[in-house]
Structures are given as structure tokens and as C-alpha cells.
């Protein structure tokens, strides 16, 4: 059950790059002195963006920067699922399989991952380019089913469009995020259904 045993390979040291150290300092400076612990979460995010995941060395390093016991950082990092405690591939494909996405065909999306990448949720391709993960609701139900890859949401997917998306990533392209059906944001799928006419003066 304990996930700590699976944290490997564990780097022995972590330091921010000069750029990131400047950013980190700016983040720390947002908090009054004595309350630097408030910067724990943004610093963990910064570390994850730098290394791709959050190692124990990174947590210890952040604890040192903030002058808090390392345990306090471990607690935060393990509490939030979006901090990755294990290395992931270059593209972290997070497939939502929560109820609305599942009703709208997330099984097909997962199947597409399996067909294109040959891996199941929780696995990473041997070339370390893709990791597939099942996640709980990512808050885009109105465009279900969806996946999150890196920071981007790809929505209104089906089996074919998911396949196309992954193949584009395999070719090294950067597909445009958002709806695969072309609708803008969360507009009604088949065009507007209400407010089609300009209201007549006097009618409310």
C-alpha cells in the first residue's frame, strides 16, 4: 500500500537552476517573514516543472529553502495527486474516467491509448515518451470525454480523434488544445439552441 517503496530511481541531490531559483525567491517573498512555508506548493510545482517529477531530494531541498521540517513538505507533496512522486514520460496523458467522461466514451479513449502506445494506465512507454494515467474528474465534464496532457486539455474526444492526437504527438507535433469537434469552449454541440433571435423591445 505504501507508495514510498516505489519511488525510484531516487536522485541523491536536487537544486533549482539559476532561473528557477530567482522564481523561487520571488515566490517566497510573497509571504511575510516567518510564513515562508506558504510557498511550499508553488515551489513543489516549480521543482516538478524542472525535473518532470518531485523526488525526495527535491522535497528536502525545498524544505531547506523554506526552513521547515522535511516532513511538512512530504505531507503536502503526497496529499496532492498532481505532484508526481515518480518519473513520468515526456507526455503525461491523464485520461479522465470519471462518470460523465465514462458515459461519454472514455473507455474508447483508453482503448486508443492502448492501441497506439501499447501501454495500460499507470505504465510508461519504453522510450519514456508517454505515460498513461487514469485520473478522477478534471473539471471539464461539459466537454467529456477529455484527457489532460501536460498542462493542456483535449476535449470532446472519441476513439479516432484520440488516436490521431497521440499519433501527432508521436510525430513530434504540438496539436492545438481544446475541443476536437471544433466547437468553441463549451458552446452547445449542435450550434445555439436558445437566444437565437434578437429580443424585441418590450418583451422580457
Amino acid at each position: 500500500m505504501s507508495e514510498q517503496s516505489s519511488i525510484s530511481p531516487e536522485p541523491t541531490a536536487f537544486v533549482f537552476t539559476d532561473d528557477n531559483l530567482k522564481k523561487a525567491q520571488a515566490l517566497i517573498d510573497r509571504y511575510p517573514s516567518g510564513r515562508q512555508a506558504g510557498a511550499t506548493m508553488p515551489l513543489l510545482d516549480l521543482a516538478q516543472r524542472q525535473a518532470g517529477w518531485v523526488s525526495r531530494a527535491a522535497m528536502d531541498y525545498i524544505a531547506g529553502l523554506l526552513d521547515v521540517p522535511p516532513m511538512r513538505v512530504y505531507e503536502v507533496a503526497t496529499f496532492y495527486t498532481m505532484y508526481l512522486l515518480r518519473p513520468v514520460g515526456q507526455h503525461h496523458v491523464q485520461v479522465c474516467t470519471n462518470l460523465p467522461c465514462w458515459l461519454r466514451g472514455s473507455d474508447d479513449v483508453l482503448r486508443a491509448c492502448q492501441e497506439v502506445l501499447g501501454i495500460s494506465p499507470g505504465e510508461t512507454t519504453s522510450d519514456h515518451r508517454f505515460t498513461v494515467a487514469e485520473v478522477e474528474c478534471a473539471g471539464a465534464c461539459v466537454n467529456a470525454p477529455m484527457v489532460q496532457i501536460g498542462d493542456d486539455y483535449f476535449e470532446d474526444l472519441d476513439h479516432a480523434s484520440m488516436k490521431a492526437l497521440l499519433e501527432a504527438l508521436q510525430r513530434g507535433e504540438r496539436p492545438k488544445p481544446g475541443s476536437r469537434t471544433g466547437r468553441q469552449c463549451s458552446c452547445p454541440a449542435g450550434g445555439p439552441t436558445t437566444l437565437k433571435a434578437v429580443p424585441v423591445k418590450g418583451e422580457v
Binding site: 500500500m1 505504501s2 507508495e3 496529499f79
Partner: protein
């Protein structure tokens, strides 16, 4: 002050009191797991639910709810009963039904409260969760599947022990209590987690599967393994001490004890001297009491009184020291000392060797200077009290001595006496901090006094105390922290050199040179026994430790769990141990051995009962009459000599191995495991917030 009504009874309490505390004041029991009155409020177990109006129409957690004027609280309404039964059902969902094989059984909060507030059967048919056990060191056995995540252990380590190594990682159903890095807890107070854990997740590893609580004979006693005299309960069965637990004593140990106090008790079962021994042909051979006494008496006939010396060690009780002092006085022996470490302590002024502020008094101090002491090792529970005061933000701590992690931040001013001299002479900025404080205090450790310039250190400390307003009518901030339970008692009853007598150091020196031909060691093991030269050595004590190895005659005595004996703690608090079990074999209570020896020598002491010895103690110092009444204020006086030249050498630690300070802990297997654990760990470097 807000007035509220609890179960129809009106009560007025101070603002800021919680509903749970108000209920307790009325004697109403509120079930709880996470709430503990010495820890911060977490409010995460939800067991303490009560019905409160006005307020939302649902039960509220009373531990985290401050009282308000006009509140009406119901603690036993149908809504409350249903809510608590529901909480209990949720807690039990993942709690294994392994009470028959759980060491907490019989003293388990969950077990008791499930009986009182739970349902009669489970509706849960799904799989329970399982959690991997964690390694928290040789003292704590974990069974994390039983954990109900009350987080008392996390809060204790962070707040009281000051070693924030425990935490709750992951969340929801996956939440686990762990150190994350799988190392033993680097704390001298970790054993208290076992008492705090309301379930069987954290239990005592050395005591695992030893006994059930209802089989144990419980004796309320005091601890003698450091100089605090913590209140303990000794649990025994069949003549063996199986475990030691803390008792509540607000003025000394609150409800904590150190790991040594708690876990050294397995040392009481091994390495014991259970029969007298006499060295014949170079080998110690078992003998009868009569033979042993005869050997001592025969030797004494051939040695002149000026060549006889007696040393009392760290575990000697007051009765035995009194009897031995009277016997030596009768024999015209003047070489006598209870300061086996050679510490310069002035026996003439009680305030000069006491912790005058008192342990509870630390909670009023606002500036503290530690001189040559590491309270974390020397008195772990007292260190927690300093930390408790520091946490409030009102205490500034500075120290002179070896730099160590004391679990709170300390300004390290220097390492040796020259810094103390500079402060005492007003040449150091910290002097003004002390002068500006309302209640400044100073703690002088044995590391500063057990030196050749001890008189100067003591004198400089006195001058510093006097000049920085530490000694007043209403406050005495001058403190000596002892490491030995016997020391203050020995000084009080005058177990010190007589007219022209040698002190501890000079006795060893004389023995080495052949000027001392006979040495009587009463529980004295922490001396350099190799320096005793050709002297005839009589050892009276309970363990086959250093003193016994060197002895020519061994007189087996009783350990602190085997006698009713007085000890005086570092504050000057006179307390009595209680006999929990009998001494093994032929071993006897210590004062009785001295009494019997006096009979053999033809100089019987004028008392032959415990009451008699205690009456004699009271005659010497009336303070001995005040058993368990707390220390009286000690008179101030002139002591030490600030004019003596100081030695620039840094103060050395008086305790290098916390887990092996005395014959009992050195005999303990558990303590040996702790030493091995900590040695392995220290190689990895310091830990903790301020390490």
C-alpha cells in the same frame, strides 16, 4: 464570562474554553480520540460530537467549539447518540478485529469507547484496508492497519518533543502516519507515543506480548535514572518488573517520561547481584552474608580510619547514605563523598546545588542561559518543559557549551568559562538581555562543575545571578541541573568530606598512590575503577557493573523498584520510591546492609527500622520530613569563588550516552538497541528543524 447550559446544568466558564472542557468540568464524559489536553486541537476524529443550540441542526465537535454565552449543549440526546454511533461505525470500518492479539487490549480507548458508544454489530461487508507497518525505532512497535489517524503522535512529536519527523502522508483512505524516510525517531521522549496512541497502532516493542494490563500489579513510585524524580507507575507480575509508565505530576513530569525511564526496566532483570561475593585467590566467589561481613570487618581492623574512604554513587538512596555516613562518623572516617563525578558543589548553601526555579517555574521564565549543560540528554522531560515555554514565544534561550540540537533555537554564545566570565563581568551583550528580563534564569550543568575550575564557574554563576536580578524575594533563577538522583539528597544529609577529608577526586587519587587502603563504594559505578590502585574495595549495589568487577567484597543491594527509599530530585523535592517487587536472591535493602555491617563491626547504628532511619534524616535536615510535598525555598548565600583562575577548555558533555548512564540502563538490552540505532543514525548527520 460566558454562561452556558450543559445537560440542563448551568455553568460559567472563561471565554475561550471549549465545550468539551466545560463538559469535563461538570464531570460529563465526552468520548474522544484525537483530543488531548496537552496537544493542539485537531478535531479530526469526530467522536466528541454534541448537540448545540443555537446553531446548525447537526452535531458539532465539542473539542474544537469554543463556548458562547447562552449556549445549550446536550451530550446524551438521541441525536448525539446516533451521531457517535455513526462515527464509531466509520472508525471501525478499517480497524481490524484483532483485539485478542493486540497489546493495547484492555487499555484501549477504541475498545472501551466502542463498548460504550458503538453499535452491537458491523454492517460492513467489504474489504478492509491494510497499511504497511513503519519502522519508528527499537522502542515502538507499529501495526499501522490499526491506526485511526487521530494524529496525536504527529502533534506530540512536533509540539512537545520538538522532533518533527512524523507526519501524515497521502490522503483520504490512503492516509498513513509515517516518517516517510523509514528512520527511527531521534527523540528521547518517543516512548510517550505509546501512551498517547488511543489504539494499538503504536505499542511498546520491548513489552510486546508480555502481559495483559489486568494481570499486572501496579505500584506508584518515582524514577531515579535521572535527577528529575519523575512520577512513574511500576507494573510487575510474578516478581518481575515488566514495564514502567508515567504518572501525572504537573510539577515535575506532567505526563511524560523519557525513554530511559520507561524502557531501562528490562535491565532490572539481568546482571543482578543476588548473593554476596568475596574475592578469594583473585576470583570473586559466592559467599554468605556472614562471610562477606566478616571479610569486611577483618579488613577494617587492619586499616586506619585515615586510610578508609567511602563514595556514594548516582543511584544511592538517602537512607543508605545516612546509615553509611553515621557509620563512617562513628569510625572517625573523614574521606567521604557523594559527588563521584568530582563536581564542585557547595554542600553548605542549599540554594547552591538546587534547581531553585523549580521545573514548573520554567513556565514563568523569559530568558534562560544554559551553562555547560545539555538538558535534552541530562533531563529530557525538563527539556520538554523549556521547549513548552519557548513555544509560547516568551522565552529567549542562550547557551554556553557544546553546540547541540535542543529541539528549540538557542543562541550559542561560546563554549567555555571565558564567555561566562564575560557575561558575569558585564562585558557581553547577553548580560543586558538577562538584566532586561522579568524572570531570568540560569541552568548550570554538571559539565560545567565537574572540572578543576568548578569553584570559579560556580562563583561566576552566583555573581551573574546576583547582578542580573535572578535572586529576588519572589524569584530565584539560579539552577543547578543534576544528572544523578542521589546527589541532592547526599548533599542535604552531608555525605561530603569531614574535617580534613578528601573529596571524590582526591579519594581516587589517594587510592592510586596507596594513601587510601580501603574504599567502600555505595552504588558508585561511574568512577574510574582502574584508578583505585591496590585498595581493598567493598561494593554495595545491585548490578554487576564497573564497581562490582573491581570489588573484593560485594554486598548485594536493592534496585529502586525493590525498596521504599527516599530520593531528592534536582529541585530539592523529597520523594519516596515504593517497593514493587522483592530484591532477587540474597539481596537486601541498602540501609539494612549498612545497619547489619555496623552490628558486625560492634558499632551498631542507633536505628533498626525504616522509620528510625527517616527520623534520623529529619533530625539532620527537617526537609526530609516533607515527603512528596514539593521543595521549600532554599536560602541564598555565598558560594563558589569567582576569583579562582578559569581553565579555557570548553565545557564537556556530562552525558555522552543518554541510554547508558547507570548500571540499570547499561544492563538493559533495550537501551543497548537504542544505542546501536542512534550510532547508526548519527553517521547520517543531524536531523530535526534545528539540527
Amino acid at each position: 464570562m460566558p454562561k452556558l447550559t450543559i445537560d440542563g446544568v448551568e455553568i460559567e466558564v472563561e471565554a475561550g474554553t471549549t465545550v468539551l472542557q466545560a463538559c469535563e468540568r461538570l464531570g460529563i464524559e465526552i468520548p474522544r480520540f484525537c483530543y488531548h489536553d496537552r496537544l493542539s486541537i485537531a478535531g479530526n476524529c469526530r467522536m466528541c460530537l454534541v448537540e448545540v443550540s443555537p446553531g446548525p441542526p447537526k452535531a458539532q465537535a465539542s473539542c474544537a467549539l469554543p463556548v458562547a454565552d447562552g449556549m445549550t449543549v446536550k451530550t446524551d440526546s438521541p441525536m448525539v447518540r446516533k451521531a457517535r454511533r455513526g462515527v464509531m461505525e466509520l472508525l471501525l470500518i478499517n480497524h481490524p478485529l484483532d483485539c485478542p492479539i493486540c497489546d493495547q487490549g484492555g487499555e484501549c480507548d477504541l475498545q472501551d469507547q466502542a463498548m460504550a458508544y458503538g453499535g452491537d454489530k458491523s454492517r460492513y461487508r467489504e474489504e478492509k484496508r491494510a497499511v504497511a507497518d513503519k519502522y519508528l525505532g527499537p522502542l515502538i512497535k507499529t501495526c499501522m492497519t490499526r491506526c485511526i489517524q487521530c494524529t496525536r503522535c504527529v502533534r506530540f512529536m512536533t509540539e512537545v518533543a520538538g522532533v518533527p519527523e512524523l507526519g501524515a502522508v497521502f490522503r483520504g483512505e490512503h492516509m498513513e502516519i509515517t516518517t516517510y524516510i523509514g528512520q527511527a525517531l531521534d527523540s528521547e521522549l518517543s516512548g510517550n507515543l505509546v501512551d498517547l496512541c488511543p489504539v494499538g497502532a503504536l505499542t511498546s516493542r520491548p513489552y510486546a506480548f508480555m502481559a495483559r494490563p489486568w494481570e499486572l500489579h501496579k505500584t506508584e513510585s518515582i524514577d531515579v535514572l535521572d535527577a528529575l524524580g519523575c512520577a512513574i507507575r511500576v507494573d510487575s507480575r510474578g516478581g518481575q518488573v515488566l514495564r514502567v509508565l508515567p504518572r501525572l505530576h504537573e510539577e515535575v513530569n506532567e505526563e511524560w517520561i523519557s525513554d530511559k525511564t520507561r524502557h531501562a526496566c528490562d535491565g532490572l532483570r539481568v546482571g543482578r547481584l543476588d548473593t554476596p561475593y568475596v574475592r578469594r585467590g583473585g576470583t570473586l566467589r559466592p559467599a554468605s552474608w556472614a562471610e562477606a561481613f566478616a571479610a569486611v570487618a577483618e579488613k577494617l581492623k587492619t586499616v586506619k580510619p585515615e586510610k578508609i574512604a567511602v563514595i556514594a554513587g548516582d543511584l544511592a538512596d538517602c537512607e543508605a547514605m545516612m546509615a553509611l555516613k553515621d557509620l563512617t562518623d562513628d569510625l572517625k572516617v573523614v574521606h567521604r563523598d557523594c559527588r563521584q563525578d568530582g563536581a564542585f558543589l557547595d554542600p553548605n548553601v542549599p540554594a547552591a546545588y538546587r534547581f531553585n526555579t523549580t521545573i514548573a517555574g520554567i513556565e514563568m521564565a523569559d530568558a534562560l542561559l544554559l551553562v555547560g549543560t545539555n538538558p535534552r540528554r541530562e533531563a529530557a522531560v525538563l527539556n520538554a518543559r523549556i521547549r513548552k515555554r519557548w513555544v509560547t514565544g516568551a522565552l529567549k534561550v542562550a547557551a554556553i557549551g557544546e553546540k547541540v540540537n535542543l529541539t528549540y533555537p538557542v543562541a550559542w554564545l561560546g563554549t567555555g568559562p571565558q564567555t561566562l566570565k564575560a557575561i558575569a563581568e558585564g562585558r557581553h551583550p547577553f548580560g543586558s538581555v538577562l538584566k532586561g528580563a522579568q524572570r531570568p534564569m540560569l541552568i548550570l550543568g554538571q559539565g560545567a562543575l565537574a572540572r578543576s575550575d568548578g569553584a570559579a564557574i560556580l562563583g561566576l554563576s552566583r555573581v551573574l545571578a546576583e547582578t542580573s536580578g535572578m535572586v529576588r524575594e519572589d524569584w530565584n533563577g539560579f539552577n543547578v541541573l543534576h544528572t544523578a538522583a542521589a546527589r541532592v539528597g547526599g548533599l542535604m544529609l552531608g555525605f561530603v568530606p569531614g574535617e580534613g577529608g578528601r573529596d571524590g577526586r582526591a579519594i581516587l587519587d589517594g587510592a592510586g598512590k596507596g594513601e587510601i587502603g580501603f574504599v567502600y563504594l555505595l552504588n558508585a559505578d561511574e568512577i574510574d575503577t582502574g584508578a583505585l590502585g591496590k585498595a581493598f574495595v567493598v561494593y554495595q549495589g545491585h548490578h554487576g557493573d564497573a564497581g562490582a568487577k573491581r570489588a573484593d567484597v560485594i554486598l548485594p543491594g536493592a534496585a529502586y523498584t525493590e525498596k521504599n527509599a527516599l530520593y531528592v530530585n534536582t529541585e530539592g523535592r523529597v520523594q519516596s520510591t515504593q517497593r514493587a517487587v522483592f530484591p532477587p536472591g540474597e539481596a537486601r535493602e541498602d540501609w539494612k546492609i549498612v545497619r547489619a555491617l555496623s552490628e558486625t563491626l560492634g558499632r551498631p547504628l542507633p536505628y533498626d527500622s525504616l522509620e528510625g532511619v527517616r527520623a534520623r534524616l529529619v533530625a539532620v535536615d527537617p526537609a526530609f520530613a516533607a515527603i512528596a510535598q514539593g521543595p521549600a525555598v532554599a536560602a541564598w548565600g555565598i558560594f563558589g569563588d569567582p576569583a579562582v583562575a578559569i581553565d579555557a577548555a570548553p565545557f564537556a558533555a556530562s552525558i555522552t550516552n543518554f541510554y547508558g548512564t547507570d548500571p540499570i540502563s547499561r544492563a538493559s538490552k533495550t537501551m543497548a538497541e537504542c544505542v546501536a540505532e542512534m550510532n547508526g543514525r548519527r553517521e547520517h548527520g543531524g536531523t530535526g528543524t534545528y539540527g
